[in-house]
């Protein structure tokens, strides 16, 4: 379990860490901790993967054509409907 102070510190900057928004100093510090803490390593990996999966899943969703058609009708944009 994440009992050490380091683990807790990491937890708080985790969001900015995976987004690459942390200062170089803090990054180095975190990466040093990750080398020796298996739990935090797993948390970072699975958190990254979680975000990535949602990204991939999202990219595959498109606007259903009939929803698009009804939208253009509602907005009186029929002329601009693409076949």
């Amino acid at each position: 379990m994440t009992e050490s102070k380091e683990c807790e510190r990491l937890l708080h900057s985790l969001g900015e860490y995976v987004d690459g928004e942390l200062s170089e100093d803090l990054c180095t510090e975190i990466e040093r901790h990750l080398l020796e803490c298996h739990n935090c390593q797993v948390v970072v990996n699975t958190l990254r993967k979680t975000i990535e999966l949602y990204h991939e899943e999202e990219e595959q969703e498109t606007l259903p054509p009939e929803v698009g058609r009804r939208l253009y009708m509602r907005l009186n944009l029929e002329d601009y409907l693409r076949p």
Binding site: M1, T2, E8, L11, H12, L14, G15, E16, H38, N39, V42, V43, N45, T46, L47, K49, T50, I51, L53, Y54, H55, E56, E57, E58, E61, T62, L63, V67, G68, R70, L71, Y72, R74, L75, L77, D79, Y80, R82
Partner: protein
């Protein structure tokens, strides 16, 4: 085929002046994202379509007075998110009465400690994004409180920056960061339970399941 239109940036000036062709281009560019936003917020195709239509109807009326304090996309997402939250409030008021108590807690300092420590990243892609897994991903988002879900949808699914997300929701950037981390950690926890179970089913060795 649709390429030429997408490349030219939208002219806010033309939009404000009521140029219909420009408005059509705006609809084409933003309707998929707004529909997905609504679908993720509401989990229901009919409601999502209502939000989509209302958003552009409102935008059409409000464009002449658009003050450009935020970008056009952030402004549209703000309208869409307000519509979605309004429907949610009507349909599930209980989620919001709960919200009042939890929002302050959600913006507070303490972050819940990760519980499920299993590395499921090694699972193959077809397992991670099987149709069953996809359903699970969607249900996990629906289980987030509206406040956490809104931040996650804008920042991680629609790719808005922290600042744009804050503008679209009318909350501080600090609140965005805290809620985003909470949302991500909750989803990580859900996904770890799900994929951890899949690993067991598929006969992967589970290391250090707590």
């Amino acid at each position: 085929m649709n390429e030429p239109n997408v490349k030219k940036p939208l002219s806010v000036q033309a939009l404000k002046a009521g140029n219909r062709e420009e408005f059509a281009r705006m609809v084409e560019q933003y309707s998929p994202g707004i529909y997905r936003l609504a679908l993720k917020m509401l989990g229901n195709a009919q409601d999502a379509e209502d939000v989509l239509q209302e958003t552009f109807l409102k935008a059409l009326r409000a464009l002449p007075g658009f003050e450009e304090r935020s970008s056009l996309s952030t402004w549209l997402y703000r309208i869409a998110m307000n519509e979605a939250l309004m429907i949610l409030r009507k349909k599930r008021p209980e989620a919001f009465s709960l919200e009042d108590q939890t929002t302050s807690q959600e913006d507070g300092e303490s972050i819940e400690e990760p519980r499920d420590i299993v590395d499921w990243c090694c699972l193959p892609e077809n397992e991670l994004l099987s149709s069953e897994a996809r359903d699970f991903l969607n249900r996990a988002v629906e289980q987030l409180s509206p406040a956490l879900r809104a931040v996650f949808v804008l920042r991680d699914l629609q790719d808005l920056s922290v600042r744009e997300t804050a503008e679209a929701l009318g909350i501080s950037e600090t609140a965005v960061k805290t809620r985003l981390l909470r949302a991500r950690l909750k989803l990580r926890e859900e996904l770890s339970a799900y994929y951890g179970h899949r690993m067991e089913v598929l006969g992967y060795d589970r290391i250090e399941r707590m």
